[in-house]
């Protein structure tokens, strides 16, 4: 029988997970023999001691009672040794005690040795660690993300999330990486589970079925794992946001079929970034800055990319896509190598690159998925035409220095691209209304926006946050909102001196799911509007005052001083 109510109220699936209480069970099971041996030795020596004849100082026969014998054995076996009680022993008793001591010491050594070796046992420690992890995840009271894999990309993502005060749980099947989570010393406690994320039970343990789980991020280098995670989560918790990485269109389609909310394709993004940079260096600068972690310095603005004939050399599909991207921007592109549709090999061959192609070209893109091939292509191209603008897809972060010494003008790390992308999505969904429109606004607009942000908050990337102008988040200004007299510029005045504006730059204004980027100061706000704001943390706290307290809001909006207590308001006959 199932009640209709419960099926409606709880959409969380019940995922059967073995309660990992294996740790204590394992101890008990393994300690059976040592403990029984100890009990046996104690029993034998105690009974023996009561049976051996002794005598008191007067020479009368006296046998130890069971209690006295047990007491004597307890302190003798544990090598405390209070002496012979209650009377000095006879030689017969001493003989038995000697035997007992050897038995008892051996028994203790055996028991303690077993316990110590158990503590060092791998299986036991893994069981303990898993139990510890599950307890931590179960008691997470804040929303958290599940990060699958702990490679370069996830690691820098984790650092940024930590700085933003978000909680997360890490799953990886590599022991060293899991140990790395602890070494990276995050501010918040970040549980890490050693296990294969393709195992449904592991995902359930990691909290994918936890009511506080707000999303799963799968950025491993292995497409199959990411796909498995996307599918598992899609089936377990339909509707839970999943951000997955893949470099294959085919797999991206499958991920989307299972409800992955975002699929990040680093190779696609490489093309996108090049396109944006071609269109407007200021837009590119703005976008990179806004998606970096809070406080990151303003990245230098790049010089405009050379326009002329480009040469792209890359692995099959990716090379073709990049070529199409660039052609869409109106650039003349030559595709070299890997592009032959009938070629069995996708990779670039030694003979593919010739001087003919490179004479008269302005830029060369090395975009294979192997760093060594890229470096070799760059060096070859440079020798043939030293004036080329060199662009490279950098695959491994550890090779960044090699690219630097190869003289690359524009290099991109897929890991870095992914992190920026994922961070933007996780941090503020409204930001995703803003970013895609930036390239269309043109160079001057972006330049002005960067200027505004820098003058508001300095060189560090500003805090981005959203406010909803409803009763819960902005109770202080409801009065003016419902009257329809509150303009954006009034809201953003400084409560200390309303002639000054707070250093806050409004980025997006959303009303009825329709977003406007960079809203005008004269905009009249309505209840329920959503704003995405950029500012240093201090301005954020000041604005919170205005939003929360009607008397602060009265000064900011209308330049009226309203007493904050009800009694005083009545006495002075003022009202809000």
């Amino acid at each position: 029988m199932s009640s209709p109510v419960s099926s409606q109220t709880s959409n969380l699936p019940v995922v059967e997970t073995r309660r990992p209480s294996t740790g204590i069970l394992l101890v008990l099971r393994r300690m059976r023999t040592p403990i029984i041996v100890l009990i046996g030795i104690f029993a034998l020596s105690t009974v023996g001691l009561t049976l051996v004849p002794g005598e008191d100082p007067q020479g009368n026969p006296h046998r130890l009672s069971i209690f006295e014998a047990f007491y004597f054995m307890a302190y003798t076996a544990s090598t405390i040794g209070f002496g012979e009680l209650p009377y000095p022993f006879t030689p017969a008793q001493r003989l038995w005690v000697t035997v007992s001591i050897f038995m008892a010491v051996t028994g203790w050594a055996y028991a303690i040795g077993s316990l110590l070796s158990l503590m060092q046992d791998r299986a036991f420690r893994a069981a303990l660690a898993r139990r510890h992890f599950v307890n931590k995840v179960r008691h997470l009271g804040e929303p958290f993300l599940v990060l699958v894999g702990y490679g370069n990309a996830t690691r820098s993502l984790a650092r940024s999330l930590d700085e933003m005060g978000r909680r997360f749980v890490v799953v990886d099947d590599d022991e060293e990486r899991i140990a790395g989570v602890e070494l990276d010393a995050y501010r918040a406690d970040s549980p890490a589970l050693l296990g294969n994320a393709r195992d449904t039970e592991v995902m359930a343990l990691a909290g994918a079925a936890h009511p506080r789980c707000e999303g799963v991020v799968a950025l491993t280098g292995d497409d199959d794992t990411n796909l498995d995670v996307a599918m598992t989560v899609g089936l377990l918790r339909p509707g839970l946001p999943v951000i997955a990485r893949t470099s294959s269109r085919d797999i991206a389609d499958r991920m989307e079929l299972f409800g992955a909310s975002e699929v990040v394709n680093p190779l696609d993004r490489f093309g996108d970034h090049l396109r944006i940079l071609l269109r407007s260096p200021a837009s590119y600068q703005l976008m990179v800055w806004l998606t970096s972690s809070p406080g990151s310095p303003l990245p230098p603005r790049r010089d405009p990319l050379p326009t002329g004939r480009w040469v792209v050399s890359g692995d099959g599909r990716f090379g073709r896509e990049l070529t199409e991207d660039l052609r869409a921007e109106g650039i003349e592109v030559d595709l070299v190598g890997g592009g032959h549709p009938d070629s069995t090999s996708d990779s670039v061959q030694a003979g593919d690159l010739d001087a003919e192609h490179l004479q008269g070209a302005v830029a060369f893109v090395a975009a294979t998925e192997s760093d060594m091939t890229n470096l070799w292509l760059l060096r070859t191209a440079q020798q043939m035409n030293p004036d080329l603008f060199l662009v490279a897809l950098q695959n491994r972060a550890s090779n960044a220095r090699l690219y630097e010494s190869a003289g690359v003008d524009f290099g991109m790390l897929p890991a870095e691209l992914i992190v920026h992308e994922v961070l933007a999505r996780l941090a503020n969904p409204e930001l995703m209304q803003f970013l895609p429109r930036v390239p269309h606004m043109g160079e001057e607009w972006s330049d002005a926006m960067v200027e505004r942000l820098v003058s508001a908050g300095g060189d560090g990337a500003p805090d981005l946050w959203r406010i909803v102008l409803d009763q819960r988040e902005a109770p202080g200004v409801q009065h003016w909102l419902s009257d329809g007299h509150l303009t954006l510029s009034d809201l953003l005045r400084d409560p200390h001196d309303r002639d000054h504006a707070l250093h806050i730059v409004p980025l997006v204004h959303v009303r009825d799911e329709e977003g406007t980027i960079a809203p005008e100061p004269e905009l009249l706000l309505e209840p329920g509007d959503v704003l995405l704001l950029a500012a240093p943390a201090s301005a954020r706290r000041t604005l919170a005052d205005t939003l929360a307290h009607p008397s602060t809001a009265a000064y900011v909006v209308e330049d009226r001083v309203v007493p904050s207590s009800w009694v005083w308001r009545k006495l002075t006959r003022t009202s809000l």
Binding site: R30, R32, I36, I39, V47, S65, I66
Partner: protein, 128 residues
């Protein structure tokens, strides 16, 4: 034949029989109850308890619970005996002896449950 089962059954049964043997006889008469028998009952009960460690089945958990009850009751009986014979000024009188024997009677009940569980487990195992 599983040697582990033999040892397990042996200790569970021995715990019950020793307990029963000690319990037999007039409650308040110290002459009719042997201290070594109580000692043996305590030791065998402790061993039976340890043998039940680390079993994750439901019946294993109940087994462990009954054994813990029996061991605690018997240890309490032994403590009362020690108090009566070594500490109390009046020595081992009928009142103290009755307390010891009734405690061991409680342990006997737990031990009987243990034996019943053992039988149930065995029978249900053979049916499968």
């Amino acid at each position: 034949m599983n040697l582990e089962k033999v040892v397990f059954g042996f200790f569970v049964l021995l715990a019950a029989t020793l307990n029963f043997g000690f319990f037999l006889g007039d409650m308040s008469d110290p002459e009719l109850h042997n201290s070594y028998e109580l000692f043996a009952a305590v030791v065998v009960n402790l061993i039976a308890t340890v043998l039940k460690f680390g079993d994750r089945t439901q019946i294993g958990a109940v087994h462990l619970a009954t054994s813990l009850v029996a061991s605690l009751q018997l240890i309490a009986a032994a403590l009362v005996w020690t108090y009566g014979s070594e500490v109390s000024a009046g020595g081992m009188d009928g009142e103290t002896m009755a307390a010891v024997v009734s405690l061991s009677g409680g342990a006997l009940l737990a031990n009987i449950v243990s034996v019943v569980l053992l039988v149930v487990e065995t029978v249900s195992f053979q049916r499968r």
